[in-house]
Amino acid sequence: MSLRVDDLTVYYRSLRGDVKAVDGATFSIEDGEIMGLAGESGCGKSSLGKSLIRMDARMKHVGGRVELDGRELPIADDRKMNEFRFRDVSIVPQYSMSALTPTRKVGTVARELLESRDVPFDTVKAELVRRLTLVGLSEAVLERYPIELSGGMKQRTVMVISTLLDPSLLIADEITSALDVSSQRAVGELLVEFRDRGFVKSMIVITHDLAILYQVADTILVMYAGKLAEKAPAETIVGAPRHPYTRLLISSLPEVGVRFDETRLAGIPGKPPSLLSPPAGCRFRDRCPLAFAKCEEEPPFVEIEPGHEVACWKAAA
C-alpha cells in the first residue's frame, strides 16, 4: 500500500465558523497508481489534497490518520511535516505558473528550494537538467526569469522541480485548468510519463475536469460536499457509474459531436449544501432524483464490487 487515508476530517477556519471541508475520508492508493480526485467547487477536493501535505495555515486537522509507505504522516503538525514535504510528499499547486518568484531566475528558485531541504544543488543539478530536457526544455531555462517563459513552459518547470527528489506521492492541484487545450494534453501526458519513469510513485490529480481524468488517471474518486461519493477505475466511473451524482455529472458533460438541437443535456438543479452546517444524512439528498426515506441516514462508503466503492443506499443495494 502506498497511501492509506483513514477517516480524515479537516476543517477550515473561516470568518463565520468552521467550514467542514473534508468529513471522514477513507481510501487508499497503490504504488504506481494515478488517482484522479474530481468534484465541483467547494466539494473539498483541494482541501483533501492540501491536507495531505499541510500547506494551508487555515486548515485544522480534526481527526483521522494518513499513512504513506507504512509511516504515519504527521499532518496535524506543521513543523514535523516539513521533513516529509518535497521528499516524500510533493505538490504542484494551483496556479503553479505564479509559483515561481518573478524577481528570481528559475535556477535560483530551484537552488534555494533544494538547499532549504539540505540538498546541495550541485549534486542534483545534472539530474535536473536531464529531466528538463526530457520535458522539452533546455538548460537555458534555469537562467531565465519566469516572465520570459510561456504558461506551459512554467508549468513543466514547476513539475520538474517539484518532483526532483522523487517523492512517493505527488499532489497535482488543478494544474491543467489555466492552460490552453494544446498545453493541457502535453501536461497531462507528462504526468503519466513521470509515473512511468518512476519520478513519482503515486499521484493524486485534483481537477473538476472529468474528461482529463479519464485520459490520465487509473482510478477516479468523486467527492461531493466534503464526503466521498464514489471511487472506481476510470473506465467504470465514466462508463458505468453507480452513484446518482456521478451519473448526473457524466451525463451533463457535452462532448464534441453532441448538439443542442439533437440531444438536450440536463444539468443538476439546485446547489450543494453549505459546509458551515451541512445537513445530516446523505448530502446529495436534496438534489437526488432517487432519494428515498433511508437517505436521511448517512450512507457508508462501501465496496460494491472489487475496486469500486460507493456511498449511496440505492447503489449499494
Binding site: Q184, R185, A211, Y214, Q215, S252, A266, G267
Partner: protein, 301 residues
C-alpha cells in the same frame, strides 16, 4: 455566406493594433483582418485559445474598445465609432455577459442593482410596471424572484449570477448577446443549464456571439463556428462542417487535443504539426465547400 438582407452583425476587415514597448515602437496585432457575420436567431461561436483575440473582438462589438481598422456594422449601420447618445441606443440592442460572475457584480451593492442600472433606458415606465418587467425577465431565465432579489452577490451562486446578467440583457429586449466565456467559471452541473437557456433564447430570435475556448461547448450550442488563432481566422463556417470535416492543421490539432470521455487520446496517432505564425498579414480564406472557409496554409508566415 448568408442569405442577403438578413444580416444583423457584420465585421469587415476588423483589426486591433496595440502600440507596445518603450515609446510605443512595436506593434501588437491582437486582431488581424477578421470578417464574419451573425444573423438574427443565430449562435456564432468564436473559438480560440488564449491570445487568439476572441475577447478583444467581443469588446469591440460591445463598444468597450475601438477597432483600429475595419468596420463593425449592426443592422446596416456603422457602429465602430459610436459616442454617447448613439452608443446608448446601441446598448438597447446589444449587451454582454462576461466570464467571472463574481467580478461582474460590484461587491458592495446588492445583486439586483445590475437590473436597476438599466432602468435608465426606460424613463417613462412606472414603479409597478418595472417590477413586473423584472419578474418576467427573471422567470424567463428560470430564476425565482424571491430567491434572488434583495441579496448580495456573495449570497448567490455563480450560476444564479450569470442568469441574472442574462435577465438584465433580456430586460432591454436585445437582439444580440455577446457571451464571453460565460460558463467557464461555473460548475459542470450548472453549465449545461445556462447553455440550454441560451439555446432556448436563440429559438426565440436572440442572436448570440458565443466566445469560448471549449470546443465541445461550441459544438453543442452554435450554428456557425469561427476558429481564431493569433488574432486571425483559420477556419470558419457551419459548425457541422467545421467540426465534422476540419481542414486546417490548427483546427485538427485542437480537436485531437480536446480530452473526451469514452475515447482516449490516441497515443500512436501523431498530433498535426502547426507551423509558427507571427506575421502581420492575415492569410486569405478559401472556400473548401459551401459554407466552409479555411485560411490558406503556408501563406501565414
Amino acid at each position: 455566406m448568408l442569405e442577403g438582407g438578413r444580416l444583423m452583425l457584420a465585421l469587415d476587415g476588423v483589426s486591433k493594433v496595440y502600440k507596445v514597448g518603450t515609446f510605443g515602437g512595436k506593434r501588437l496585432r491582437a486582431v488581424n483582418d477578421v470578417s464574419f457575420q451573425v444573423a438574427p436567431g443565430e449562435v456564432v461561436s468564436l473559438i480560440g485559445e488564449s491570445g487568439s483575440g476572441k475577447s478583444t473582438i467581443g469588446r469591440m462589438v460591445l463598444g468597450l474598445s475601438r477597432a483600429t481598422e475595419g468596420t463593425i456594422s449592426f443592422e446596416g449601420q456603422d457602429v465602430s465609432r459610436l459616442e454617447r447618445r448613439r452608443l446608448h441606443a446601441y446598448y438597447a440592442d446589444v449587451q454582454g455577459v462576461f466570464q467571472d460572475p463574481f467580478s461582474s457584480y460590484n461587491p458592495i451593492f446588492k445583486a439586483d442593482r445590475v437590473l436597476a442600472l438599466v432602468k435608465g433606458f426606460f424613463p417613462e415606465i412606472g414603479r409597478s410596471e418595472w417590477d413586473e418587467k423584472v419578474e418576467n425577465a427573471l422567470n424567463a431565465v428560470r430564476l425565482e424572484p424571491g430567491a434572488c432579489l434583495g441579496k448580495y452577490p456573495h449570497q448567490l451562486s455563480g450560476g444564479q449570477l450569470q442568469r441574472m446578467l442574462i435577465a438584465r440583457a433580456l430586460l432591454l429586449d436585445i437582439k444580440l448577446l455577446v457571451a464571453d466565456e460565460i460558463i467557464s467559471m461555473l460548475d459542470a452541473s450548472t453549465r449545461i443549464d445556462v447553455l440550454n437557456l441560451l439555446g432556448d433564447l436563440k429559438e426565440r430570435g436572440l442572436g448570440v456571439l458565443f466566445i469560448t475556448h471549449d470546443l465541445s461547448l461550441g459544438n453543442y450550442i452554435s450554428d456557425r463556428a469561427v476558429i481564431l488563432r493569433h488574432g486571425m481566422i483559420v477556419e470558419a463556417g457551419a459548425t457541422s462542417k467545421v467540426f465534422g470535416n476540419p481542414v486546417h492543421p490548427y483546427t485538427r490539432m485542437l480537436l485531437t487535443s480536446v480530452p473526451q470521455l469514452h475515447t482516449k487520446w490516441d497515443a500512436t496517432r501523431p498530433r498535426p504539426v502547426v507551423e509558427q505564425t507571427s506575421g502581420e498579414t492575415a492569410a486569405h480564406l478559401v472556400e473548401v465547400e459551401p459554407d466552409h472557409l479555411v485560411a490558406a496554409v503556408g501563406e501565414t508566415s
